[in-house]
């Protein structure tokens, strides 16, 4: 039962805290040797007589330390000694590890062992759990100076290399279908008997259908077409008038004109922005939102940037590049830096700085791992994250590739950047100060917390407060030109005091407004959405864990510097191996040069996504867009184009669209139109016997896929049906669970800790990770929400109120049908409705119409 959790193992030993999960070798699959044995009392500093021989010195002063502090990770019996360094044999010690020799007998200054032991090497500090006592280090210095006499056996035990998972070879990997270049295909010839293609898309679909002797379904009726187009491009159903205007337009270009018009609507950006926000795991806060990972007050600016960018049809490659590296792109405007919310408002963990350096180091690598996962699955449809612990079992991604990417994010620090222009030096200074002050203010606050105690707390308080004061002076000098920036830092020196919080609303009672507004104006909660002129972004700085104080761990930020990460054996920060320069995964790279050369490499990463892996990036996005129009992609696993994912159902079509997407300057509006103009898109979604028989799952697309509206489209459509939808765009997020929240759903606050009730009910994804698509479920709770919820009752009341203005029940019913279902009732429906009204009310009837299949369904 001695299993340990490798990544999260705590490894403090004699000088630190305790081990968790002892067990020398854990599960073989993710084996990591924990430091065995908790407390070992070292006898240090006892005087040795002058006659002590070198051998005795070794036995008395050196060997015990090696045994107790080093062997557990560096011994010849291990399958994979850390850093390939073996310290329990003489030869091993002389040979060194992955970084080469560690010992230069007679020359302490040249011995890396000493550097590592004295914690002066920024990357490798041993033992990982805490620095040895100075006296012990002194012993080592003396021992090395005197020739590093080592009486131990020379012959190393049979230390075999670690059995590593070897994925596919690089060569085989490069042949993988999704990594092949894309090229436009010639349209397959379609015989008239196979059906009539409207555009090139159809030729591929028809060819495949013909193999099964199937044809496309007939074009859907015009009402369905206009509804699809509105939901597809704007995210809500059309009104009666909007439907009528399309029905009455009998020109041959009516449909195309409709698409063109909707593509120009500002609400297009809202619909498509929300799609992208699933992929970008957009949220306004963090999974736990504790002291060091408070909510993001300016995430909404990133959301607004997404909407604006899609509305101007920013090329998709630039759209992604700005999100990764706007701060490094010379042609990016300051307002484009809002895009950095992609990295700067990413989910992060709470870093309780009282935890050991290894634990904090692990949290940081968790944060960076999340970035790698978001980019690799979101943009490239590849899951790279497996390579954190071992070479990818299936895809040709190695741990080296992985840590080469991690260096990019280890050299990128989240920060609030000003929206107004600031000269680069001052801005850099501001951003560094902000991070440093944040950590100091957090730490000082901890000291004052009841129930919290520190080793040397009083001493620390004095020191930290002095440091804060020193930074104040520094800020005053270096930011003199920008009083506004100095002002924004004031919250760290003078934390706003909040009055005792009102008792939190009972769980489940969301949407209930507090009875009375607080009498006294409160300073905003940390992280509350704010209109101050800042944005959640990132800047270039290397991050390290400073564990030199074994009782308190700091994170250091080195602006303008970069950090290359070591390969972490089994993902364990305490087992660093070879250091890998930042770079692009070899299997994806065009050419042998994978290294990133400028700064963190974020911009090079962003650029190579659209040069080296342009074909893959285009395929992935084309497939997503296809999926948003058809309910599922040509590749069913939208975020996995690797060997574990599905293969495309129509590879030539995917290739052709991807190639033409690139040719059309990565224009999403072009792509949307190309897909929507096709007969495949426009066909009816009704079941057909021959189709069901030959291809029940509709893989070949013999019909369009009908769907339930997603959470946002449903809420927006309901609100619009009641005439209450407020189309004001942009700005601070609101609480969508408030009954009188009538803005579009995209402007509701997205919480990683707690999904909005209504959205969650209708399968809104969790925003902790990039979501490849939406589940569509039908649940009893959804129906109860529709039957009894006050939100829906309020909508019904509003709709009924406006219908009540008409004279006569028949006219009122007609108005409700037009308002909610965007059509006139049939004679039979009118008759039934009139009968209903003998028992029910107009408002209840409005609620019935809002709850219908017809309202929630997209045929």
């Amino acid at each position: 039962l001695e299993n340990g959790n490798p990544i999260y193992q705590l490894q403090r030993d004699a000088s630190g805290v305790n081990n968790l999960g002892t067990g020398e070798l854990m599960s073989q699959r993710h084996s990591i040797a924990a430091i065995v044995g908790a407390a070992v009392a070292l006898s240090i500093g006892s005087p040795l007589s002058a006659q002590t021989t070198d051998v005795e010195f070794f036995e008395a002063r050196i060997r015990p330390v090696l045994v107790q502090r080093c062997y557990s990770c560096h011994n010849s019996k291990m399958a994979a000694p850390k850093g390939e360094l073996i310290l329990d044999t003489k030869d091993g010690l002389l040979k060194g590890g992955t970084h080469g020799p560690v010992l230069a007998p007679g020359n302490p200054g040249e011995s890396r062992l000493l550097k590592v032991l004295s914690y002066t090497d920024p990357l490798v500090q041993m033992p990982p759990s805490g620095k040895l006592a100075d006296a012990v280090i002194q012993d080592f210095t003396q021992w090395i100076a005197k020739g590093a006499v080592d009486p131990r056996a020379s012959a190393p035990a049979n230390a075999s290399a670690s059995p590593q998972y070897k994925g596919m070879s690089l060569e085989d990997g490069r042949k993988w279908w999704s990594l092949q270049p894309v090229a436009a295909h010639a349209a397959p010839k379609v015989a008239p008997a196979q059906g009539r293609p409207v555009n090139k898309v159809d030729t591929f679909i028809l060819t495949k259908l013909a193999e099964k002797k199937l044809q496309l379904s007939p074009q859907a009726d015009k009402r369905t077409l206009v509804t699809r187009a509105y939901v597809g491009l704007l995210g809500f159903k059309p009104t009666y008038e909007e439907v009528q205007s399309f029905l009455n337009d009998s020109s041959p270009s009516a449909y195309e004109n409709l698409i063109d018009r909707l593509l120009k609507s500002p609400h297009y950006g809202e619909r498509w922005g929300r799609h992208w926000m699933d992929v970008a795991r957009y949220a306004d806060d963090n999974p736990s939102s504790e002291a060091t990972n408070p909510p993001y007050p300016f995430a909404w600016r990133y959301r607004d940037w997404i909407i604006e960018s899609l509305n101007i049809d920013m090329p998709y490659d630039r759209f992604v590049k700005l999100q990764l590296a706007a701060d490094l792109m010379p042609d990016a405007k300051r307002e484009d830096m809002r895009a950095l919310g992609y990295v700067g408002a990413a989910p992060i963990y709470h870093h309780d700085l009282r935890l050991s350096g290894d634990v904090i180091g692990t949290f940081l690598t968790d944060d960076w791992d999340e970035r790698i996962d978001a980019v690799s699955r979101g943009v490239l449809g590849l899951s790279v994250a497996c390579a954190r612990c071992h070479d990818h079992k299936f895809d040709p991604v190695t741990t080296k590739d992985y840590y080469a990417l991690m260096g990019v994010f280890a050299s990128t620090v989240r920060v609030e950047r000003p929206m107004f222009p600031v000269d680069p030096d001052a801005e850099q200074e501001y951003m560094w100060l902000q991070r440093k002050l944040f950590d100091l203010a957090y730490s000082i606050n901890l000291l004052g917390n009841e129930g919290t105690t520190f080793t040397n707390g009083a001493e620390k308080a004095v020191k930290w407060k002095a440091e804060m004061e020193g930074l104040k002076a520094r800020a005053t000098t270096n930011l003199a030109k920008y009083p506004q920036l100095i002002q924004s830092l004031d919250k760290y020196w003078n934390p706003p005091r909040r009055a005792a919080a009102p008792p939190p609303a009972a769980a489940g009672a969301r949407g209930v407004k507090p009875a009375a507004p607080a009498a006294v104006a409160q300073p905003p909660r940390p992280g509350a959405p704010s209109t101050d002129p800042y944005m959640n972004g990132v800047f270039e700085a290397a991050q390290y864990v400073d564990a030199s104080d074994p009782t308190y761990t700091w994170i250091t930020y080195k602006p303008g510097e970069v950090r290359n990460m070591p390969v972490l054996r089994a993902g364990n920060v305490a087992a660093p191996g070879e250091i890998v320069p930042r770079g692009f995964p070899a299997v994806l790279a065009k050419g042998a040069d994978t290294a990133f050369k400028n700064g963190s490499g974020r911009l090079e990463l962003a650029e190579r996504l659209f040069t080296d892996t342009a074909a893959l990036a285009a395929r992935v996005m084309v497939n997503r867009v296809w999926g948003w129009h058809f309910g599922k992609g040509l590749v069913a696993t939208a975020s996995d184009f690797g060997t574990q994912g599905d293969k495309p159902t129509h590879p030539e079509l995917l290739d052709d669209l991807a190639a033409r997407f690139i040719e059309h300057g990565w224009s999403l509006k072009w792509l949307n139109k190309e897909i929507m103009m096709s007969a495949a898109y426009r066909q009816s979604s009704k079941p057909r016997a021959e189709g069901l028989q030959a291809d029940e799952a509709n893989v070949l697309l013999w019909r369009q896929n009908s769907r339930r509206l997603d959470a946002e489209a449903y809420r927006d459509t309901l609100t619009r049906s009641a005439g209450l939808l407020d189309l004001k765009m942009g700005g601070l997020p609101g609480d969508i669970d408030e009954d009188d929240y009538y803005r579009r759903a995209i402007y509701g606050r997205v919480s990683r800790a707690r999904r909005a009730q209504m959205l969650g009910l209708f399968d809104f994804p969790e925003a902790t990770q990039s979501a490849p698509g939406r589940d569509i479920t039908t649940s009893t709770l959804q129906q109860i929400y529709l039957m009894n919820g006050t939100f829906i009752q309020n909508l019904a009341e509003a709709a009924a109120k406006s219908a009540a203005a008409a004279t006569g029940e028949a006219e009122q019913i007609g108005m409700l049908y037009r308002r909610i279902l965007a059509r006139d009732p049939t004679a039979a429906e009118m008759k039934n409705a009139l009968t209903y009204l003998q028992k029910g009310t107009l408002q209840r009837f409005a609620q019935i119409l809002l709850s219908t299949h017809e309202e929630i369904f997209l045929p």
Binding site: L1, N3, G4, Y8, D13, A14, G16, V17, N18, L20, G21, S27, A38, A39, P287, Y349, H350, L355, R377, S383, C386, G451, T453, F454, G457, A506, A507, G508, T637, S639, D640, Q644, K686, P687, E696, S706, R707, R752, G760, D763, T768, D775, T778, S779, T780, L781, Q783, I784, M787, G789, T790, N832, K839, G840, I848, L849, T852, H853, E854, F857
Partner: protein
């Protein structure tokens, strides 16, 4: 590829033994085969003979002090105030010397298991309890440790145990959610993560026993049941006519059923969630507190076929006794003790204990050394949890911490081992309960965990 069998049919076909899988209806959702077939990956349904069908997980948020409740250590008296050098007692905060528990331990039950005077009621049901004194976990901070307890990982993305169990076994009552959380702050306790959202825990507050306060929107405030029926019929007619004009469609047909179920559910749930319907003596047995309400409600839900119930001791992270641990436990233990014991007793009386796993614990325990004079710091190195029912041995304590109660030493049980053992009792091999996501088969126990067969009857 669409698989023609619904997931339920598939599980029924493959599962064997458990009979009542019902994923396709009602609360548990109606998602068609596709989404699930994709994620199902290699999972083929429960494969072991199941001892238990339900889980009630009692969660004491903050880290309850095992030293004062379940793990007596006479050595603490001998070394009171000292820090013996034989054991490194360091944790994240500054702590002082060993602090013996002021609470008296006595032996109870057929095997004479020691329990502290804080828990006189649980002491009476000790013969049903398997007290694991050698638990350990992997993080000393609340949030990650809580995630480990509930999801088997510190990551903020993984599905909760309840989600895994309902994914693996489905529901027994299509009119109720399969996975319910009572008084839970959500997050890792109810998260479905990459599992389909229908497996998310449905959270209900219990600070008021009025079911209308517990289930939002359960009652229509505007019209009575008869009028609602009229509306439901009108809606049904419209939906049926729409379905007819569209053609056979799983979603449209499913939604009609779901509405009908919802209509009935309102009344059923109103009844079910109303603990005031219980005889007074039963209510008294559980006690008139929110936690008593939670435990009693948990029993009613399990009885009605709910698969997994999380019951939090309400009030947030309040078992986090960095100071005044003794005084706080004196205040907090009585109602916890009463309700938890009542739950075990009541399940036993109704013959439900054999098929219900009652799990009790926090995200970690507390140190034997004092903090701030009167408190105890977090201790993930060795702590106590107990399991009652579900085929676990009763009346035993298992494993041991060191002399001072700091670190688990004998028969160590990691949080992964506990998860593996719980799944085992539910008929699932923890290495085979997988979900394919991002190119990998994920597990509750990741690559860890061993079934602790010693504690199984």
């Amino acid at each position: 590829m669409k698989i023609k069998l619904s997931r339920r049919e598939m599980l029924e076909a493959l599962g064997g033994g458990m009979g009542l899988f019902g994923l396709a209806g009602a609360f548990s959702g109606w998602s068609g085969g596709e989404v699930h077939a994709a994620g199902l990956g290699n999972y083929t349904g429960p494969s072991l003979p199941a001892k238990a069908k339900h889980v009630i997980m009692i969660y004491l948020n903050g880290g309850p002090s095992q030293i004062d409740m379940f793990d007596p250590k006479p050595a603490l008296f001998k070394y009171a105030g000292q820090r013996p050098s034989a054991v490194d007692l360091r944790t994240e905060r500054v702590t002082a010397g060993l602090m013996p528990s002021p609470f008296e331990f006595k032996r109870y039950g057929r095997n004479g298991v020691e329990i502290s005077e804080l828990l006189p009621q649980l002491a009476t049901v000790v013969d049903e309890m398997c007290i694991i004194r050698s638990m350990y976990t992997f993080n000393p901070t609340h949030t990650p440790a809580r995630a480990l307890l509930h999801t088997g990982s510190v990551l903020a993305t993984r599905p909760s145990t309840g989600s895994w169990v309902t994914y693996g076994l489905g529901t027994e009552n299509q009119n109720l959610p399969a996975f319910v959380a009572l008084a839970s702050p959500g997050g890792p306790m109810t998260r479905s993560g990459f599992l389909p959202s229908e497996y998310q825990g449905v959270n209900f507050p219990v600070n008021d026993p009025d079911p209308e306060k517990i289930i939002p929107n359960i009652t229509n405030k505007k019209i009575d049941a008869a009028a609602q029926r009229v509306d439901m019929d009108a809606l049904l007619a419209l939906n049926q006519s729409y379905t007819k004009s569209f053609g056979a469609d799983q979603f449209l047909e499913g939604r009609i059923k779901s509405m009908e179920t919802a209509y009935r559910m309102q009344f059923e749930a109103l009844e079910l969630f109303d603990i005031r319907k219980e005889p007074q003596n039963i209510r008294d047995e559980y006690g008139p507190t929110p936690f008593g309400t939670g435990c009693l409600l948990a029993r009613r839900l399990v009885e009605a076929g709910v698969r997994f119930v999380n019951v939090d001791y309400p009030g947030g992270q309040i078992w986090d006794d960095h100071r005044d641990v003794a005084d706080n436990l004196r205040k907090r233990c009585p109602d916890m003790d009463q309700a938890a014991a009542a739950l075990i007793r009541d399940l036993k009386r109704r013959g439900l204990l054999d098929e219900t796993l009652v799990v009790w614990g926090g995200e970690f325990g507390r140190t034997p050394v004092s903090e701030s004079g009167s408190g105890r710091d977090h201790n993930p190195y060795g702590y106590t949890m107990f399991v009652a029912g579900g085929g676990f041995k009763g009346g035993i304590s298992y494993g041991a911490t060191d002399e001072f109660g700091f670190k688990a030493e004998q028969n160590r049980v990691s949080i992964h081992d506990l998860h593996a053992t719980l799944l085992h009792q539910l008929g699932m091999d923890h290495t085979k309960l997988t979900y394919r996501y991002a190119g990998r088969d994920f597990r509750l126990t990741d690559v860890f965990g061993e079934v602790v067969t010693d504690i199984l009857a």
